[in-house]
């Protein structure tokens, strides 16, 4: 049979975002793929060069719409390094807790969308229901459900509200119980197992060569996690394990994400324990509200971090829900960066598509791409 190119995207239920997967097929067999991105390119790196540090927070939210807090913190860690700003300890614990809630929300969102791609409808409804509980928590301390604008250079915008700890613990207990139900829905389903086991294999050697990170890499048996290997924030104080799987397939990625959710719940509980033991709303006073504003509003002078910005560079690396995210900031002594660069894990994971798609069938495409967990907002930036 003759080969032909098929465009899956930019509008296609499989894509979960705006991008185009060009697939060369021979009958049902995939012989070549060519992912095309850029449909969501908004020039965030260019705009960063024109905005003061704190003004970029809205863009970071929108660079990944399911993990906004991760990108906010990533950019500000790099900025804090470049500018030499200290973060209060309490703010670090709040950040860590927010990161893990974000990972939980992102993974549940992935679960809901992925299992629906495979034709199982009810897990999606359960997943969306439980993710909403996490979004409620976000709303209670950031004021928003998806675009939070919560992190600041040197800390976070505000402290946690009264009674937050109890509410968060209840939600964690609930989700921990429901994770068992999620797993039963999937693992007892022949359809789910038959469609995911042994599909989309990317072995550890290829993962390392192609730069693939995150759950895809850990599903191939490589226990690399920047939370442990290069601890940022207060992850060095946290007790958690790095789940791995040796399947290197779509099923392995599903297993890794399921275990990661349990570890996230553990870390959230540990952060809440620390925050309960160290009460006080001390953090907000120490966090500069305005970075580099030449004339602060009257009476707000103590909130301003306006001084000679040093020349410097900052490199921040974080384990985002999708993998290794890196921000690199070059500061030339201004209140905005000279060059800001964001490394998106999804960008790299998509770029390796040739390595995990060729040789499978057309009907496997949603299964494989879903297991990669794509979010095009951060790939295109």
């Amino acid at each position: 049979m003759s080969e032909m190119w098929v465009n899956m995207g930019p509008q296609h239920p499989m894509t979960h975002g705006l991008w185009n997967l060009r697939v060369k097929i021979d009958g049902e067999l995939i012989v070549d793929v060519d992912p095309e991105i850029g449909y969501l390119h908004r020039g965030i790196e260019k705009i960063c060069e024109y905005r003061r540090y704190n003004e970029v927070v809205t863009l970071m939210d929108r660079s990944c719409y399911v993990a906004g807090l991760a990108w906010e913190q990533l950019y500000f860690i790099a900025a804090e390094q470049a500018l030499g700003v200290e973060v209060p300890e309490r703010a670090e614990y709040v950040r860590t807790m927010a990161q893990e809630l974000q990972r939980l929300a992102s993974h549940i969102m992935w679960y809901a969308a992925y299992v629906e791609d495979l034709g199982l409808m009810s897990p999606m409804l359960y997943g969306m229901r439980d993710r909403d509980l996490v979004l409620d928590l976000f709303q209670s301390f950031t004021g928003a459900r998806m675009t939070y604008e919560y992190m600041r250079v040197g800390g976070v915008r505000n402290d946690l509200p009264v009674g937050f700890s109890d509410r968060a613990r209840k939600v964690m207990d609930w989700i921990e119980k429901k994770l068992v139900e999620y797993e039963n829905l999937c693992e007892r389903s022949d359809i789910f197992r038959k469609r995911t086991v042994g599909v989309g294999i990317l072995k550890a050697k290829d993962c390392l060569n192609t730069g693939v990170t995150g759950p895809m890499l850990r599903a191939a048996g490589v226990a690399r996690d920047l939370r442990r290997d290069r601890p940022y924030s207060v992850y060095s104080e946290m007790d958690f394990v790095i789940p791995t799987h040796d399947g290197a397939d779509a099923y392995g990625r599903y297993r890794v994400r399921m275990e990661e959710m349990r570890q996230s719940i553990r870390i959230v509980r540990q952060s809440l324990d620390w925050l309960d033991r160290h009460p006080g709303r001390v953090m907000a006073e120490k966090v500069p509200r305005f970075v580099g504003t030449p004339s602060p509003p009257p009476g707000r002078e103590e909130y301003v971090l306006a001084r000679d910005f040093p020349k410097g560079r900052g490199l921040a690396a974080m384990e985002e829900p999708h993998g290794e995210a890196v921000a690199y900031i070059v500061n030339e002594g201004n209140e905005h960066p000279y060059r800001a660069k964001l490394r998106s894990p999804v960008f790299v994971n998509i770029s390796a598509a040739k390595h995990y798609m060729i040789g499978y069938r057309v009907s496997d495409i949603p299964v494989i791409m879903g297991s990669v967990d794509v979010c095009l907002g951060e790939a295109d930036r």
Partner: protein, 162 residues
């Protein structure tokens, strides 16, 4: 040969086994070291770092427009040393080009495509030298400092495929 177990050991072996591959070394918090690399020796150095220096993961390639010259920065991750190594290559402002590392780490291919697309730095021997984020046929490299922010414009976008 045993694998290196610390950065000073790696650096000593690097200087002995790949002579003249680096012209400067400096320190910065957050990275193992920053190495200044002359453009012609980047591929030789990268291959050594991958095979002998345990830097199995090419995390990031980016370009910086310094107006009078260009800079390409590479970030490599080592699972054994648990840290990032930063390589910096200085290129002339006129027709900047450097050897592609796409043959050393497959993960560098799209980063280099993006750097060509947004900054106009060519990567010699690149396996897939197309635009990535901007449309094919776009006149500018928008991350260059000579490109000012502007209002949205209508683009004549040619179809990428025939």
């Amino acid at each position: 040969m045993t694998a290196v177990s610390s950065w000073p050991e790696a650096l000593a072996r690097l200087k002995a086994e790949v002579p003249d591959a680096i012209t400067g070394e400096s320190a910065r918090p957050g990275v193992l070291a920053v190495l200044a690399v002359p453009a012609p020796s980047i591929r030789r150095l990268a291959t050594w770092l991958r095979d002998e220096g345990t830097f199995s993961h090419c995390s990031l390639v980016l370009g910086i427009d310094w107006i009078d010259h260009m800079e390409v920065v590479y970030h490599l991750w080592s699972d054994a040393l648990k840290g990032y190594l930063e390589l910096s290559v200085t290129l002339p402002a006129e027709d900047p080009h450097v050897d592609s590392l796409g043959g050393v780490w497959g993960g560098a291919i799209w980063h280099e495509r993006e750097t060509w697309d947004l900054l106009g730095i060519r990567f010699d021997g690149h396996p897939d030298p197309r635009r990535l984020l901007m449309p094919e046929g776009y006149k500018f490299h928008p991350l260059r400092k000579s490109f000012e922010l502007r209002e949205p414009e209508e683009l004549e976008v040619k179809s990428r495929h025939v």
